[in-house]
Amino acid sequence: MTVLSLRNLVVVVLLAGLLLLPIYAQVAGSPFLLTLFTRIVILAIAATSLNLIMGYGGMVSFGHAVYLGIGSYAVGICAFEGVESGFVQWPLAIAASALFALVIGALSLRTRGVYFIMITLAFAQMAYYVAIGLDRYGGDDGMILEARSRFAGLINLNDKTAFYYLCLALLFATIFLVWRLVNSRFGMVIQGARSNERRMRAIGFPVYRYRLVCFVIAGTICGLAGALLANFTDFVSPAAMHWTRSGDLIIMVVLGGMASPFGPLIGAVALLALEEALSGITEYWQIILGPMLLLIVLFARGGIDGILARLRHA
């Protein structure tokens, strides 16, 4: 087996590209690229966290964007109330997401299949409507973030390049963390429960509590992505946790490749870059994007990453 299979090559090129992107954007004089890719990287963090529960754990959450919303509202509400320190905002965003994931998970993980999908969706929509009802914080219009999180001179989030690299570092850390997790004892339990839950019980695993911990870890990571998203858009609104956003995250994971460490990143890049490219061609870009996604889901199990893995053998 060669170390540099096509699949590895693509990942290496992608990672190098992401690292060098700000330089390219500078040279090419297109700051827009940096904005686009900051967005991609943040959503790739969210998608990677979803992959942990959906790809590896078989828990198809249709409400994962709720943590994006909770993370951003934690930052937004803090800023609105005059707390601008990131050292307070971000841990709060993480803690609130973890707590919310604990509650959602504790209830929804008692169900399976379609019921699980519907309950996670219902919780996310509930949070969405609660956010709309927050009149003090802009209701359904959302609110502008007056200032980005401050980190006592450690890093200036207003510096677009610095912010991009912070997001990228957090993405790499997330991918590494998920990779270590799924190859640990804990990861085997999670994947075993996806593969054959009944057998897991028979050999002595209390499956529920492992799933719940996994669910909370994923929600927590996604909450951090939410804190990044608020700082990126300078704006906080209920739209961040709308069910269509949860759907986008699922598409990224499925498109890139479930249960693959770099799949969600590949999926996020592919989906958002396609969206961008196609919307430049026509106003009705969804008409092109939809069938493309359908074809990949129908004919390429394992997503883009799966195609790359198979090409190696060809």
Partner: protein, 255 residues
Amino acid sequence: MPEPILLVEQLSKRFGGIVATDQLSLAIPPGELHAIIGPNGAGKTTLIGQLTGELWPNGGRIIFNGDDVTTLPVHRRSALGLARSFQITSLFLDFTALDNVALAVQAHAGHSFRFWKPVRAERALRDPAMAAIERVGLADRANILVSRLSHGEHRQLEIAMALATRPRMLLLDEPMAGMGPEESARMVETLRELKKELTILLIEHDMEAVFALADRISVLVYGRVIACDTPENIRQNAEVRRAYLGEQQVATRHG
């Protein structure tokens, strides 16, 4: 008779109006290979379900190794040393054979809230798993995805997984189901080896295997034990013959 390792007293289970387990009592001493036979619909699977904890009885008690386990959840019984194999092969198809068994070892090696260390490098899990795989004769197939193994190999692997949990007692639910004669013979050999160290409750349709292996046989009809004796005596038992003869007549009428 020594203190039984598994004691079932007056066990009852109803599904609506149907009595699947009817005041069933059973005592299995340590070291015995005890077979349960009976016509289809006799309640064998319902009994296994209650012993493993997937079903709760409506009445009666199950004592395992001195502990009342009647209402204990599945994973707790497994932790006490009561392991089972499944009638229908139930494995982790997208894992390798070794990963399957290592997971069973892991289940009994403390909690699994260990998030960082690579699990496939843990000798404490891999070595016992490999040993269990060797015992059922699958050593050369250890690193193959389970979905690519044959049916007979799946059945062997089922046993290896039950073994890997280091049980005191094995509940084997039709381990020979769907096997060819050659595979069956191999399974009988494996079980004969295991019998030397473990108490085994065997539910099986293959009468040849049952009579070759069992120390004692219980015959289950309509949820009740109608006879419990050595293979020789069971063979002579008139009531048992009638029960089986009855089934055959029914089968002929339908077929």
